[in-house]
Amino acid sequence: MKAMRDVYMVAGGVSKFDKARHDVTFQAMVKEAFDYACHDRFLKRPIRVEDIDGSVASYFSDHFMRQLKAGAMVQDYLGLCPKPSHRVEGGGATGGLAFQEGWKAIASGYMDACVVYGWETMSHVETWKGNEFIALASDVSFDYPVGGFYTGYYAMMVVRHMKEFGTTAEQLAHVSVKNYRNAFHNPYAQKHEKLTIQDVRNSPMVAWPLTRRDICVMSDGAAVAVLCDEKAARTFTDRPVRITGIGRGTDAMRMADRPHEKVILLPWEDEKDYKHLKYPGVHSFRAGRAASKQAYEMAGIADARKDLDFIELHDAYSSSELQTYEDMGLCQYGEGGRWLQAGNPFMPRVEYGLDLPRKGTLPVNPSGGLIACGHPVGATGLMQAVFALWQLQERIGDHFGDTTLQVRSPQRGAIHSHAGTGTYVTVSILERAW
């Protein structure tokens, strides 16, 4: 797979994520992120509505707001009518998919500048009703009526991971400690708390072994990414970021249906390593592996362990972050717990109160991820793109007012968006292009 022409990201914006944004409608919340992106003070000149050829709308649920065609309402609020637009929905991966739809619009020559806007307002119903809506993203004949609850589904997946590979609940808690501590330096994050392993393990058990602190929270929030062709990109910024690879994968909706066969290998892996592993079963995300493989191939990544400087990935659960290390090939299948505990995905300059002999070799979720930033579903995948842009532009300090989370001179990063117990997964590769 090859792009017909190069695609760049030039600007991004993120609204404040909060449990409830009763102060703004969803359109006005998207406008916050849109205005921030278009008036990014480091742009050579502001992006105007007339510079934009069209848009992609990214939001997940029609149930949360009881408003159909909400995308049209954002399009008119932003003043983008009658330009082309369409809505993208793909569960938790909605943002990642929408980002790639924007990429396609530019890569194909259909547009020279495309704004991808995403949001979710999850505060209109109570948490447990929200969980019910989310659980409708499981088979309503066979899965939902048995006790539809996403945390329960992910808990079953990680229990199998624990049994298969010896992963421990304490290892999972390392993800939460890392992401919460990182988010402490990110003003956009919903949570600003310093947690210990004990805090995570002692918080209320939701679905064994996952506690409340192993799980992201529901949020209201919006995020915007502006994508351009090369000519437009050079007009707006001297620090454009090129999107050099996109990948997507899928898997069966019902976890019960997933195969128990052979691992899809990445170029730096050997079939011998997985002689006895039945794959993906319910312990791994085949869609995440397929998406990574495609994106790496397109971006010419020979070994993700060396060629990536940071990753923003979909940590709806501490467990799914750990499982995703393996899908993305950062370590072998089964090694996620040990790779994590050694410190590899931690930030080099953040103090965690943990003994981390290999601290910071490949930072994962420097922003704090979904666990601490919040997970307004349709915005999340785009929030990752914005934070990745600012990392590559070395502007984290300017946008966050704190340089702690700036990765040193990053050349290349990956973003990863994930839906429905691994039914849709996207991976996109972003690179410094100046």
Binding site: V140, F142, P145, Y153, P259
Partner: protein
């Protein structure tokens, strides 16, 4: 006795208000933000199990039905074809129509969790145990409830446990018409 939590639970029950006051000075209008209203929403759906109906009819009669591919071998037992423990009308690999077969009552826990919280619809049933069941005779799993275990003492040792199917006497035509208990218990 456990300590009381240090805050009262937040709920969206409360007082009904029919009017709001208006500031005399219109420059103060923004202070009226936000007004939050509440309304109910309920629907009855007519959901057909369609080609999957025999599975539910089977449960109502104490039988556990699965489907078998007509043209793909099982990777774990090449002497038989691929069996979907959760039925599918068509084979995921070859696209051909599947045949109905019966599964044994006895299987093993492939994985499980205990839900101490849940979706609103299931909150009254917490804690409950979700499990995926595996069979030698099948290539995929079945999501179910596991009964007859202590939800306060979950253990990785439950994975691999022999379990057997039980059926509700009064069928609800739901997948919970079947559930599993540790094998060898007296009914």
């Amino acid at each position: 006795m456990a300590m009381l939590p240090d805050k009262l639970e937040e709920t969206i029950s409360g007082t009904t208000v029919f009017n709001v006051s208006m500031p005399k000075d219109l420059s103060a209008l923004a202070d009226m933000t936000p007004l939050v209203i509440k309304f109910p929403y309920s629907i009855n759906y007519l959901h057909s199990y369609a080609q999957d109906s025999p599975f539910f009819a089977g449960l109502a009669n104490g039988r556990l039905l699965a489907t078998r591919s007509s043209d793909r071998k099982s990777p774990k037992d090449p002497s038989r074809n691929y069996v979907y423990a959760t039925p599918r009308g068509h084979c995921m690999y070859t696209g051909s129509k599947t045949d109905w077969v019966e599964l044994p009552k006895r299987g093993r826990v492939h994985t499980f969790t205990v839900c101490y919280f849940g979706s609103e619809a299931f909150l009254p049933e917490c804690p409950f145990v979700l499990a995926l069941i595996e069979w030698e005779q099948a290539d995929t799993l079945l999501l179910t409830r596991l009964m007859g275990v202590d939800p306060q003492k979950p253990s990785l040792d439950w994975v691999g446990m022999d379990v057997e199917a039980r059926f509700r006497r009064n069928s609800q035509l739901n997948p919970t018409d079947v559930y599993f208990v540790p094998a060898g218990r007296r009914p």
